[in-house]
Amino acid sequence: MLSEIASRIDAPTASPNAAKSELKLSSVNAKTWMAITGSGLLLFVVVHMLGNLQIYLGQDSLNSYAKKLKSLPILLWTARIGLLAFFSVHFGLAIRLNRRNRLARPQPYVINDPVETTLASRTMFSSGLVILAFVIYHLLHFTLGITDPSIHKLVDQAGRHDVYSMVVLGFQNVYVSGAYIIAMIFLALHLSHASSSILQTLGVSNRKTRNKLRLVGQAFAIVILVGNVSIPISAMLGFLSPPAGGATP
């Protein structure tokens, strides 16, 4: 049904200019899809963070959580495919809208005052690109183990993939942690605008709620930031340490 709506976006128009409008997806509908896919991604980020925070419960908890996930391949792959689809649509539309927006103002102002806009709202595309770069690196790092193979093949005492040690050891590297922290700041920036923007795009915010929702969204972004960033920081500061027995490859 969604695709049917999408295909119905361009109504007949009055102006001859209209005939030239390229794809059959209006800017408004493109935005709706950004919001829908963005919400999905946002949900993932929350769930993923909650999962990762189990690291504070110790090696056993985290590793058994990881194991449980892997033991449900249908769920796992559905989620992975869904995630990839959402991410691609979100990214694709971001490029499309960004191109439209750049072309809409070919000549910049000599003096420009951004009035009441937030930094986050003005930099959505850039922060998004950083997130994209991060995700690629992140997959190479933890999921595929290509950037740092030494930590990827660890197994714990119960014979499970030792995710806990992978993370803690991975974050011993200051540069890696630094990169994560910076990326998480950009993610927070993206989310600080995105989380309340969704509601405006889907048409559910109004003058009574708008400012409050913006604050809630910003608070939410900070929670995500703190939750995620705490892991590399804890690892570096030694609050999280590799299990005493050491991990075995």
Partner: protein
């Protein structure tokens, strides 16, 4: 007071433009920005120069003609004010004043500070009306309209079509303008019949005119001389969803009925 006025000069849409500085002396704080330009122009004309072209007419903040970016802000620093209603008392004596045209691909420069905003007219032509011929109207009080609804419609309808929202928006989006008109007519029972079609047509025209998309930044409403609310953008989004959803439902029903 004295001011250093830097003005964007551009002979025509096909020429390159640039900032030119005009020192202005012995001004009074009761002068409007446009009266300042009048003064500069009188001097230019007597010296055989080319006066600075800018749109203006009513000079009381209602016609929407005047349009320039003053020190980086469309219509200048005062809230809820047009250029013609911006007075020099808003600036410090000796200050620099930067005057630029509204910039957007959809608003090509005609000359200097004057731009072509007919794209906004074409958005209205695409559907910003109620299709009622002269003489076909029912008695005015035949349909009651709740006071609050009429007030809301009036809020939306008070847009003066100046285009400052486009000028302020980083994406040069005309969403606030379009949303104000869509909402005004969608709120009233008289606009209800064409409500669904209207929003889709107007959005399509907005896109065809090469305006950017809205990413909910809010600069538009902040500079809008009539303080048109961002609520109407949310409403436009809602109207667009509603319209398409209803269409799919009707079509689905149509298919069912055929079977």
């Amino acid at each position: 007071m004295d001011l250093k006025v830097h003005v964007w000069r551009q002979k025509s849409g096909n020429d390159q433009g640039g900032m030119i500085t005009y020192p202005a002396r012995n001004l009074t704080s009761d002068m409007s920005i446009l009266e300042l330009l009048d003064r500069i122009n009188e001097e230019l004309i007597t010296q055989g120069g080319d006066p600075i072209a800018f749109d203006h007419d009513c000079r009381e903040g209602i016609c929407g003609s005047c349009s320039m970016v003053i020190n980086g802000i469309p219509h200048g620093p005062e809230k809820a004010s047009t250029t013609c209603q911006t007075f020099l008392r808003s600036f410090r004596p000796g200050a620099d004043l930067y005057l630029e045209p509204f910039r957007a691909a959809a608003f090509p420069v005609v000359k200097d500070l004057m731009v072509d905003r007919s794209a906004l007219d074409r958005i209205i032509q695409a559907g910003g009306f109620v299709s009622v011929n002269t003489g076909a109207a029912p008695e005015g009080n035949a349909v009651a309209v709740a006071k609050m609804t009429a007030e809301d419609a009036m809020d939306a309808a008070s847009c003066i079509g100046c285009g400052a929202c486009v000028a302020a928006c980083k994406n040069a989006s005309a969403m606030l303008f379009t949303a104000a008109k869509v909402s005004h007519l969608a709120l009233l029972p008289q606009g209800n019949v064409e409500r669904g079609e209207r929003v889709l047509r107007m959005v399509a025209q907005m896109d065809a005119e090469k305006f950017g998309s809205c990413s909910n930044q809010g600069a538009c409403s902040a500079v809008c001389p009539k303080e048109i609310s961002l609520d109407w953008i949310a409403k436009l989004n809602r109207e667009a969803l509603r319209s398409q959803f209803q269409r799919s439902v009707t079509q689905a029903e149509g298919t069912v009925n055929q079977i």
